[in-house]
């Protein structure tokens, strides 16, 4: 039923076209093939002589998938051919997808004038996923942190394999003694959704005074002593690449934090009206790095959030809010969520390690009214 055309023998077709391409030079000599990569979005063929751009698709074509499945009966990728001096390039209509295998089929005549098909497979690696994972930070970041510190955050450069943290993370004292029971062990590890941040809890049983592990083993961290959190090589990323370079975070345990945090102890730097200057709070103690990103909000006179960037500095002692636009408000309200915790897990309502029957503070937030200075 369907219309048919007389097929032209393949070799003839190719020969004819290659001859045409090279014009007076009867046969092609060598070419150089440059594969696409993260910086080069196209395939490039470089010749000794300038090719014409007539029917470049007969000289080379791109196919989706591996060479083992190429190219009989397959449909070539859509794209654009360009000629620049002695180069012929193919730029796909849609950018090459990372980690997708493609095959370049080149048909060119050898010195005897026979047309040879050469298949070259390539893919553009996903740089992040294929590079060895690294630890890029640990919080609290200070070199001295309270002996009753509750929580550490470990940040990785790439998503990691879960359920192996206890094999790869150790707390070591100055004498090189490993404390195997320092960190809380759960069936479920505490990973961020992208599995690039692990939350590590010190065993609260050893922090809270007078409970079982505290009595039998003593606290894991003792004031004035120096410790190192060691992360070993070999921890595999989600893609199976082992961590290299290791990581060590050394700190000295300082005096325990055993008082409720209080905004009255904060040093406040109020920005001038009609400036872009930041609003700054300097704390009396280090606060939880992750909670600081969301627990303090700035509202305008109508109770609407003011947009801006938050940065956390000085080992989590300083909170800096830079507004997106100039401050036009005369007054602002700062709302501090009372669940904001210091590094020892104390929030504005409750101490982590409080005596039985202690009266709790029940407010949801501490509200600070600030007048912007006129400048």
């Amino acid at each position: 039923m369907s219309r048919k055309t007389q097929p032209v023998p393949l070799a003839l077709q190719l020969f004819g076209c290659v001859f045409f391409l090279f014009g007076s030079t009867a046969y092609a000599s060598d070419y150089q093939l440059l594969l696409p990569n993260n910086d080069r979005p196209h395939v490039e063929l470089e010749f000794e002589n300038r090719p014409t751009n007539s029917h470049p698709e007969k000289l080379f074509k791109l196919f989706t998938g591996p060479a083992s499945n190429c190219c009989e009966g397959r449909t070539a990728m859509a794209g654009r051919y360009d000629t620049h001096e002695t180069k012929l390039t193919f730029t796909p209509a849609f950018a090459f997808e990372k980690a997708q295998i493609y095959t370049i089929s080149i048909n060119y005549p050898n010195s005897q004038g026979e047309v040879i098909q050469e298949l070259t497979e390539f893919f553009i690696p996903d740089v992040e996923a294929f590079s060895a994972p690294k630890v890029i930070g640990i919080y609290p970041s200070g070199s001295a942190i309270p002996e009753n510190t509750l929580r550490f955050y470990i940040y990785f450069s790439t998503p990691m394999q879960p359920h192996v943290s206890s094999r790869h993370i150790k707390l070591v004292d100055a004498a090189g003694q490993v404390d195997d029971a320092a960190f809380m062990s759960f069936k479920q590890e505490l990973w961020s959704e992208d599995r690039k941040r692990l939350t590590l809890l010190m065993d609260p049983g050893r922090i809270k005074r007078g409970v079982a592990q505290n009595l039998s083993m003593g606290p894991a961290l003792a004031q004035s002593y120096t410790y190192t959190i060691l992360i070993n090589d070999g921890w595999p990323s989600a893609r199976g690449e082992p961590l290299t370079g290791g990581f060590g975070k050394t700190f000295t345990a300082s005096q325990a934090l055993r008082t409720l945090p209080d905004t009255k102890t904060w040093e406040t730097r109020v920005p001038g009206q009609n400036t872009n200057n930041p609003l700054v709070f300097v704390f009396d103690r280090p606060f939880d790095y992750e909670l600081l990103k969301s627990a303090i909000t700035v509202l305008d006179e109508n109770g609407q959030p003011v947009n801006g960037d938050i940065s956390i500095r000085d080992d989590e002692h300083t909170w800096i809010f830079t507004p997106e636009y100039r401050w036009h408000q005369e007054r602002i309200t700062v709302r501090v969520d009372s669940h904001l915790e210091d590094v020892a897990g104390n929030n504005f309502r409750d101490l982590l390690d409080h005596a039985m029957g202690t009266q709790l503070n029940s407010s949801e937030a501490i509200v600070l009214e600030l007048s912007l200075t006129d400048e």
């Binding site: 055309t5 196919f63 989706t64 449909t75 990728m77 209509a93 849609f94 997708q100 493609y102």
Partner: protein
């Protein structure tokens, strides 16, 4: 008549071009999604973009005219489309199909799902069966943004069967935006584009009418229907497939809904800001309509309606003249299932044989249908052209006629 029409159209075209320059104000093609497709009689391709809330009209009127339009068959068309786009077949979503009424080329709108972003593409299948990516950027186009486009955040509310809670497979629906229903089907009729879908921020089922060439004018009316099998008036679920035919002496839009009433709306009822009550004349018995193709068979105008849950339905247009309009007074209270004595009801035509499941179908020339058909046994997706009077291939059928002895016995 034709001569007169042309004379009238020329100044119209000129003025609308001028208007567009100030209207659209965008020479760069910014298509984000290629969804619903529809051709004008002369070969302008309308493309519905649910992301931009706009309809694009690509001028393809200069296409080659073949001596005659031939059937085109392409096996594993999803694999071939993926090959062209440089991704695996699972990274291609097929959205619609339309055949150019003059060139017989077939166009398929797809979404190419990349690692980080999706992109629209329209694939052309030539009469010789060759596939190519359509270079939309090289075509003259007009863009018409839609008024009262629904919000782009609200998603479906997942439901389970009866009182059962939704299963994980049902919950996935909760990630789909209701605005994906904003441009369901398009129908070009006498210089106007009719568009069904949901509109306004409360997602009302609507019909839009937009003169083409686009001049900035557009109307939208909301459509209510008495849904026979649900026994309730419905205002949200949109018209899935439609056609415009002369019924009872005037042009009327024939609207097919999910589960599965068919209703009539006279074109003169589609007035901006109005609320229309569509006249439900039949229900052919559940399922979700996919496409409605008008064609003629043995001199009779017919509608071929495909559905995701059943074989296609063929309804003679003539049977809809003087049809009874059903209201809640005509049926017993409560939902009517397929097996209720009342169903099917009204002029529903006939269920016809179709080998496999048609994902999208259109008329190809005078006597053919072209369909993207999912094969029952292999699961492959093939583009098949078959005679509209019997749109099947015999590949999967084994009958008496397949035995060589049958013919020997007949000698």
């Amino acid at each position: 008549m034709r001569y007169l029409k042309n004379v009238v159209l020329l100044p119209l075209t000129l003025s609308s071009c001028l208007a567009t320059a100030t209207l659209a104000n965008a020479a760069e093609l910014d298509l984000k999604f290629a969804g619903s497709l529809e051709f004008s009689d002369t070969g302008t391709l309308f493309v519905g973009d649910n992301y931009n809330g706009a309809i694009y009209a690509f001028d393809m009127t200069a296409a080659d005219v073949p001596e005659s339009i031939m059937p085109v068959n392409v096996a594993d068309i999803d694999v071939k489309i993926a090959d062209i786009l440089g991704v695996s077949p699972s990274a291609v979503a097929i959205n619609d199909l339309a055949a150019h009424p003059i060139s017989g080329e077939i166009f398929i709108s797809v979404t190419r799902i990349g690692n980080f972003e999706s992109a629209p593409a329209i694939i052309k299948i030539q009469q010789d069966g060759k596939l190519a990516l359509t270079d939309l950027g090289s075509l003259p186009f007009q863009k018409q943004s839609l008024n009262n486009f629904p919000d782009q955040d609200t998603t479906f509310r997942p439901r389970g069967v009866g009182k059962n809670p939704p299963l994980p497979r049902d919950l996935a629906k909760g990630n789909i935006k209701l605005s994906s229903l904003a441009i369901m089907d398009m129908e070009f009729y006498e210089g106007e584009l009719f568009v069904s879908g949901v509109a306004y921020d409360n997602f009302l089922s609507s019909l839009r009418r937009i003169p083409y060439p686009f001049n900035g004018e557009q109307s939208a009316a909301s459509v209510e229907i008495y849904h026979l099998s649900h026994d309730q008036y419905e205002t949200r679920a949109p018209i899935r497939a439609m056609s415009i035919q002369d019924i009872d002496g005037k042009p009327q839009l024939i609207a097919a809904y999910t589960c599965s009433p068919i209703a009539l709306i006279a074109l003169d009822e589609i007035v901006d800001g109005e609320k229309i009550t569509a006249r439900a004349i039949s229900d052919y018995g559940n399922g979700q309509p996919l496409d409605m193709v008008s064609y003629s068979m043995q001199g009779q105008e017919m509608l071929f309606i495909t559905n995701n849950s059943r074989s296609p339905q063929v309804i003679p247009v003539d049977s809809m003249n003087n049809a009874k309009v059903y209201t809640e007074a005509d049926l017993p209270r409560g939902g009517q299932m397929d097996m209720s004595p009342q169903m099917p009801i009204g002029p529903v035509g006939k269920t016809v044989m179709f080998d496999g499941m048609s994902l999208h179908i259109d008329a190809l020339g005078e006597n053919l249908f072209v369909s993207l058909t999912r094969d029952m046994y292999s699961g492959s997706l093939n583009m098949d052209s078959n005679p509209s009077m019997f749109p099947n291939r015999f590949y999967n059928l084994v009958a008496e006629y397949d035995f060589p002895q049958y013919y020997e016995d007949k000698k």
